[in-house]
Amino acid sequence: MSQTEYEVKVGMECHAELLTQSKMFCGCRNEFGGEPNTRTCPVCLGLPGSLPVFNKAAVEQVLRTALALHCEISLHTIFHRKNYFYPDLPKGYQISQYGSTPIGVNGYLEIEKADGSVKQIRITRVHLEEDTGKSIHSDGAGYSVMDYNRSGVPLMEIVTAFPPDIESGEEARLYAEALRSVLLYLNVSDGRMEQGSLRAEPNPSIRPVGSEMFGVKTELKNLNSFRAVQRGVEYEAQRQAAEIEAGRVVIQATYGWDEEKGVTVLQRLKEVEQEYRYFPEPDLIPIDFDTEYIESVRASLPELPLARTRRLREQYELPAADALQLVSDRATADFFEESAKAAKDAKAVANWLLGDLTRLANAAGTPVSETPVTAAALADLVNLIVAGTITGKIAKQVIEEMFVSGKTASQVVADLGLTVSGADEVAGIVAGVIAANPDVVAKIKGGNEKSRGFLVGQVMKAAKGRARPDDINRLMEEALANA
């Protein structure tokens, strides 16, 4: 029996909590966590008689995102009620946007694949809705309690177009990463998948290669990382194929992702289509966008990640991986560019930023752009190396001190006397090492070149890293020849 070859098609629904000061329809602060039910009011608790008033900042953030995703903007857009019962939904309906005129329609997001090729993933809608509260289940105590701090937090939903353009787990991950990057650039989301402020829900289906028909899709939830997005889709595609190969059918259902076991777990069958009884929200008035306003928002959009990656590669001659890593966070990329402009070697800035500075920042739990090492200070450090004032090895010591004290590289070097040793000084040290190790010198003379490394090491140790390797090698050569 020949094995059928399948291809996977993946639609994606992503939700991002917006970075507004207040909630979607009331004045309560929009923040993660906190003492349960401390950021609530009659509106987000859905008390009888309360009414929603939409948050203009949230509307603008969705508009910015829709424009950045190349969407057409609905000049007239309205809210709808999505009706269903759940304890975390205090009004018994979620205010959302249904139908053909959400804020943004028909856009796309580009992803760059490992081989450098770029693929367009079409987006069908970008809309605004409100988040729900959270149920907290007591283990075995027979009750649950509710926290409504998250209730009414503005939530943006971004849905890919059908038929799906995403055709692998890797593409699903790249899409989620690219989207997060755009959202961070627009400063509309903090993009924290582990906290659930950004949620990616792929719905993969498979079909035999060459088939015109689409397979039954399943929905994946609880994917708390990009890696989980890729693994979840890959696992699910294999599971679906195994079902079909075993003579069974794929059943439309929602699956959760078990990160530890690396498997998808059935959560809920979708035997009947959910009946949400959508209708226009009568408590809110329609939003009519002014084209001038839309254009002013469009004009204020920052350079987006993919374009910036391309530019950094060309302008600073950076390796693709470095450019990608720098651009993944807007503040880091801004920091790099500020530093690179003041430095004599942009590549070196990238290396120091992605290397030692990132390591130090991660250890301290601070974003790399917010450590005591400023962009100017990093440029200074690189310039000292370029000028030959300090060695790369000393620079590692210098940046540690800069990170602790907030001093500039020049200050640290001056304070600790770390400038490169002069050739005379190095020559003296070399002479001393040779004099102290006659047996090693004899081995070298006898043809054991490996022992030369030991002497070099002794010199470096004695010079405390301030000697240039070139100087050491040259002077060692001369000294051995004369020995």
Binding site: L47, P48, G49, S50, V53, N83, P87, G92, D283
Partner: protein
């Protein structure tokens, strides 16, 4: 000399302002009257005597200090119990909200408090304002002060009965399909459903959001104008309230209607309207004509579809608005549940009355996938057609005059087993809600049983001044408004 409780709000306010009587004396007079009338009327779900006395004393203190207060300072009011009042139980006459004490007040309640008005208590209604008689109250039925065996109308029957019985000089109700105007007609009062968006709905427990408006009950047009002025205006907390300046509606009461163009829509005088009601309204039109108004007939052909469309739109919105009563956060919770689904189902089964359940079911059906276009969307289209009907009529006329109700107050129990007959009692009032236009009901006579007859005036959006002016002129030429029931 008339008792204090028989006076108009305007007279009471004048006496309080001039310190002829104290606000406290006025409040005591009404509290005493409540004690006398309640055993037969049952207008109140909650009486708030301590609060009323404290508010009245505060007004007296301010007046003693020489402060000049607003035109309603010290005047008592009663509020329909679907208006949220901070610290005071608000039930919507539903078992499901028993024990619910809101942490906040409706905008209208705040505005009244700022006007120095004294709150006497919360009045009975049909559960969640669904009904035309108060017989759907989850607690008890209110009696009509003109005849306790008759209904006071509904849903704002408690607010109407309280004023008619002299238990309060003023009250607020809410009107979704006639819930102010119909009880005003049955109780011989002035009742106004303002233009949609004129009064903030914030804190009004929603029945049908696109139709609900809060409005006043009073003995006289002037009193109604005073109360309407106090509660109107844009509210940032209600997106559907309209940012438009609020006139002093009392200033509109000029007494002049010369040249006012009045339309008589034939559809409102058709089959089903009792001959006595028709005669009383036509006679009132004759009075207005005598005062100089120009009267002519007009047709509003889509009127016949208003009731059917209303019974799609209102239940549909209600089915969603009432979803929040699930026993999780406030109000009643079933004692018999082992999971959240049972908690929802049993709380709602035990907490809602039959009429509310029936409307939730109707509305849920109308919004369901596959039915939405046939019902809700179609009903919204009918609404547009009704609006066009009115727009065309208002090109020719300044206002329209119709009966408020097909009959005078019916007997308690008479229609409670005939839901269609009950709903037909709103046939004249529903179109104004569907079109969002203002409408006023006032007394234009009494039938042979001694029950009041209501006349309805309707005008274009934000024409409250015209309605008040015409009603005031009619009132000045007649003395129906002077009559009081014998309790």
């Amino acid at each position: 000399m008339a008792e204090l409780y028989e006076l108009t709000a305007a007279d009471l306010a004048a006496k309080i302002a001039s310190r002829e009587v104290s606000a406290r004396e006025v409040t005591e007079a009404f509290l005493a009257r409540i004690t006398v009338a309640e055993p037969s009327v049952h207008a109140f779900l909650t009486v708030t005597p301590e609060l009323a006395r404290a508010q009245a004393d505060a007004i007296d203190t301010r007046l003693a200090a020489g402060e000049s207060l607003g035109p309603l300072a010290g005047v008592p009011v009663a509020l329909k119990d679907n208006l949220c009042t901070a610290g005071i139980e608000t039930t919507c006459a539903s078992q499901i909200l028993r024990g619910f004490v809101p942490p906040y007040s409706a905008t209208v309640a705040e505005k009244l408090q700022d006007s120095g008005v004294v709150l006497l208590g919360k009045t009975n209604l049909d559960e969640f304002a669904m009904g035309s008689s108060t017989e759907n109250s989850g607690f008890f039925t209110t009696g009509n002060p003109w005849n306790p065996d008759r209904v006071p109308g509904g849903s704002s029957g408690g607010s109407a009965a309280a004023v008619a019985a002299g238990e309060a000089p003023l009250s607020l109700g809410s009107d979704t399909g006639g819930s102010i105007r119909q009880p005003a007609a049955f109780c011989g009062l002035v009742g106004i459903k303002p233009t949609y968006g004129r009064v903030s709905r914030y804190g009004l427990v929603a029945f049908a959001s696109s139709l609900d408006q809060i409005g006043p009950f009073a003995h006289t047009v002037e009193d109604a104008a005073l109360l309407l002025t106090a509660i109107s205006g844009h509210d940032e907390r209600d997106s559907t309230s309209v940012p438009r300046p609020v006139p002093d509606y009392v200033q509109a009461l000029t007494g002049h209607v010369e040249g006012l163009r009045i339309g008589i829509p034939a559809e409102y005088f058709a089959e089903g309207i009792s001959p006595e009601v028709r005669a009383a309204v036509m006679s009132a039109v004759g009075v207005l004509r005598g005062l100089g108004a120009v009267v002519d007939e007009v047709s509003l052909p889509y009127t016949d579809y208003a009731l059917a469309a209303y019974y799609i739109v209102a239940p549909a919105e209600a089915s969603s608005n009432l979803a929040r009563y699930d026993g999780v956060r406030y109000g009643m919770r079933t004692a018999r549940s082992s999971n959240h689904i049972e908690l929802f189902e049993r709380t709602r089964e035990e907490g809602f009355g039959a009429e509310v359940k029936q409307r939730i079911l109707t509305g849920t059906y109308a919004l369901s996938h596959g039915y939405y276009d046939a019902f809700y969307l179609k009903a919204q289209k009918v609404r547009t057609l009704l609006q066009r009907d009115f727009a065309a009529a208002f090109e020719r006329f300044d206002l329209l005059v119709t009966p408020t109700t097909p009959t005078t107050a019916f007997g308690i129990g008479e229609k409670s087993n005939d839901p269609l007959a009950m709903k037909l009692s709103d046939i004249c009032t529903i179109p104004a809600n569907m079109a969002g236009i203002p409408a006023l009901s006032q007394c234009c006579g009494f039938d042979t049983d001694g029950l009041p007859v209501g006349m309805q005036l309707m005008g274009p959006a934000f024409s409250e001044e015209t309605l008040l002016r015409a009603a005031h002129a009619y009132e000045a030429a007649t003395d129906w408004h002077m009559r009081r029931p014998n309790l």
